[in-house]
């Protein structure tokens, strides 16, 4: 594992287009690569382009292409940002954020250029008032995606949009005033599990796969809040 990290750091330096002290820009291609990035301490660190916007391959200059990658990202501190595009089938990602008021905005293959099947994505957040957005395969199908969230803290906003095809979204969230927004469109059924503890919760869950059953299980311990669940084969969203 240690050797891997050393190799990865060299790779990062070799492929970086531009890097400031607290900013990491990457444009990497190639299958089966491993990437390990740690930004620790301070605030306002950025992985990706500070002007990147979500969707349609406009998240560069963090642009990771290649199947079967392994990504290990750690950002520790406050007001950090991770903004990036990933183009890959069957990649494994570990995204860890420790601190408050961080922003995580990542898209995986929004334009169906490479597919987004079979990935194993893990997002772990410890802190408060973080904003986490993950779009996975907005026009492709995320067959057998395994997406896991572990969030500990309050006032966080977690948004996931997936073009599901047997994808599983599991969320373990502890804290008050958290908001979860999930949109699972797609073809075959999707699985949504939420295990939550905390008060004043807001959950908006939309499952709209067209050809199979969608499954949902929410366990939430706490008081007050709003839970809105839509399961529609016709793909019609619903506002509670």
């Amino acid at each position: 594992m240690r050797m891997n990290k050393l190799l990865i750091l060299l790779l990062v330096l070799a492929t970086s287009l531009y890097a400031a002290d607290n900013e990491v820009y990457i444009d990497q291609s190639g299958a089966t690569s491993n990437l390990d990035i740690e930004q620790v301490g301070g605030g306002g660190n950025i992985i990706g382009g500070s002007d990147a916007t979500a969707g349609a391959s406009n998240m560069t200059p963090l642009d990771l292409d290649g199947a079967t990658m392994t990504l290990d990202i750690l950002q520790k501190g406050s007001t950090n940002k991770f903004l990036g595009d990933i183009w890959a089938d069957t990649y494994t990602g570990y995204f860890s954020f420790i601190g408050d008021s961080n922003t995580f905005n990542m898209s995986t293959d929004e334009t169906n250029a490479t597919g987004a099947d079979g990935s194993n994505v893990n997002v772990q957040v410890t802190g408060n008032t973080n904003t986490m957005t993950l779009n996975h395969a907005m026009t492709a199908l995320a067959a057998n995606l395994d997406l896991d969230w572990i969030v500990q803290g309050g006032g966080n906003s977690i948004t996931a949009a997936i073009d599901v095809d047997g994808a599983t979204n599991y969320m373990d969230i502890d804290g008050d005033d958290n908001t979860v927004t999930y949109d699972g469109d797609g073809y075959a059924g999707g699985y949504f599990y939420l295990d939550h503890t905390g008060s004043t919760r807001t959950f908006n869950i939309d499952q709209e796969s067209t050809s199979d059953n969608d499954w949902l299980k929410i366990t939430s311990v706490g008081s007050n809040g709003t839970v809105c669940v839509t399961q529609s084969d016709a793909g019609n969203s619903f506002v509670c």
Binding site: G225, V227, Q231, S232, A234, C240
Partner: protein, 360 residues
């Protein structure tokens, strides 16, 4: 035992007098008399005719201008029809075995002489316009429609061996599962006349049967492979059951699930309001408004209280289950295939849970 509607039998003696004709036709339909006739416009209808639609719709207009419109996969037998200037001698008796039909009565002054039988209910006419739907299991749904002014077109009396209910408001509806049970309490549907006219609310029988079986199988699998077909309900002495006996998941009778809701999947909402609180089960003081504890045949929600846990289960064509903490308060809004049920636990409002499922 349900009332039987025998469509395959024809009486040997019947009048050959024409009593009406086919006034609208779309797709295929048949009239069974001495043999099967393909339906055509202006085809004359006689007593004891057995009218069946497959992939088609047909309207029959009788001498008194009464009209019966049949949608796809419907079966109607005209047992008796007499139209006489003397109102006391006029009579219409129909047997409606399956499908969906809209009945618009005509010049019959004495509507008490009009009767319609389904496999599970007798319908007495005091009004002029209503629909009736009968599914493959014989269960009946009756909806009273408004007149041209949007007010009630009269009254419909739906009767079984156990009792009767009266529909007297526009879009009031009742369902009957078996002839030995009471019709359900009337509810008012949030639909329009155009919707009634245009909706296709009957699935092909084979497909529907398959869906029913599939749904039951899935539901059974969800509960430790519980198979209600393994239970001989005739040997169960339900009269011995104590009223306050705790309702558990094993008590759910999936045969009581009202699959006629298939036929309502285009409705916007069915709002059922129950004012009475359901108190005390298993010694736990939990207030539930909007559904009854146990298996509520009106809301089709099964409510199980185990200690402080409240389980709300509704599995018709969509399946939802909520396990709630009985020490908290909730408002649960459950919308499945256009049918809305609102359940308040301990007064509601602290946490609002809305679940919408369906193809709409």
């Amino acid at each position: 035992m349900a009332q039987s509607v025998l469509l395959s039998q024809t009486q040997e003696i019947h009048s050959s007098v024409d009593i009406g004709s086919i006034s609208e036709l779309r797709g295929n339909a048949q009239v069974l008399r001495d043999k099967a006739y393909g339906a055509e416009l202006q085809f004359d209808i006689q007593q004891m005719d057995d009218v069946r639609t497959e992939a088609g719709r047909v309207a029959i207009t009788f001498e008194d201008s009464s009209t019966v419109k049949l949608t796809e996969h419907s079966k109607l037998v005209i047992d008796e029809y007499i139209y006489d200037p003397d109102p006391s001698k006029s009579k219409m008796a129909l047997k409606f075995a399956s499908g969906t039909a809209r009945f618009i009565t005509g010049k019959f002054n004495n509507k008490s002489n009009i009767s319609i039988k389904t496999p599970t209910a007798d319908i007495a006419i005091r009004g002029t316009d209503f629909t009736c739907t009968v599914d493959e299991l014989g269960r009946s749904l009756v909806i009273l429609l408004p007149d041209e002014n949007g007010i009630s077109s009269g009254e419909i009396l739906v009767t079984t061996a156990a009792g009767s209910v009266t529909l007297n408001k526009p879009y009031q509806a009742t369902t009957v599962s078996v002839y030995e049970n009471n019709p359900t309490k009337p509810v008012t549907l949030d639909i329009s006349l155009d919707l009634i006219d245009n909706m296709l609310i009957v699935n092909p029988p084979e497909q529907t049967q398959e869906d029913l079986e599939q749904t039951r199988t899935q539901a059974s699998a969800d509960y430790l492979d519980f198979n209600d077909l393994d239970i001989d309900f005739l040997n169960e002495d339900f009269l011995d059951a104590e009223e306050d006996l705790e309702f558990t998941e094993l008590d759910i009778n999936y045969l009581d699930v009202n699959f006629l809701e298939d036929l309502l999947n285009v409705l916007d909402a069915l709002a059922i309001s129950k004012e009475e609180d359901q108190l005390k089960q298993g010694g736990v003081g939990i207030r539930i408004v909007g559904t009854e504890i146990g298996q509520d045949k009106d809301t089709q929600i099964t409510t199980i209280i185990t200690g402080q846990k409240i389980s709300l289960i509704r599995a018709v064509n969509q399946s939802a289950r909520l396990d709630l903490d009985g020490s908290q308060s909730y408002t649960v809004i459950l919308i499945q295939d256009g049918v809305t049920n609102t359940v308040k636990v301990n007064g509601g409002s602290s946490t609002t849970i809305t679940i919408k499922q369906g193809t709409e």
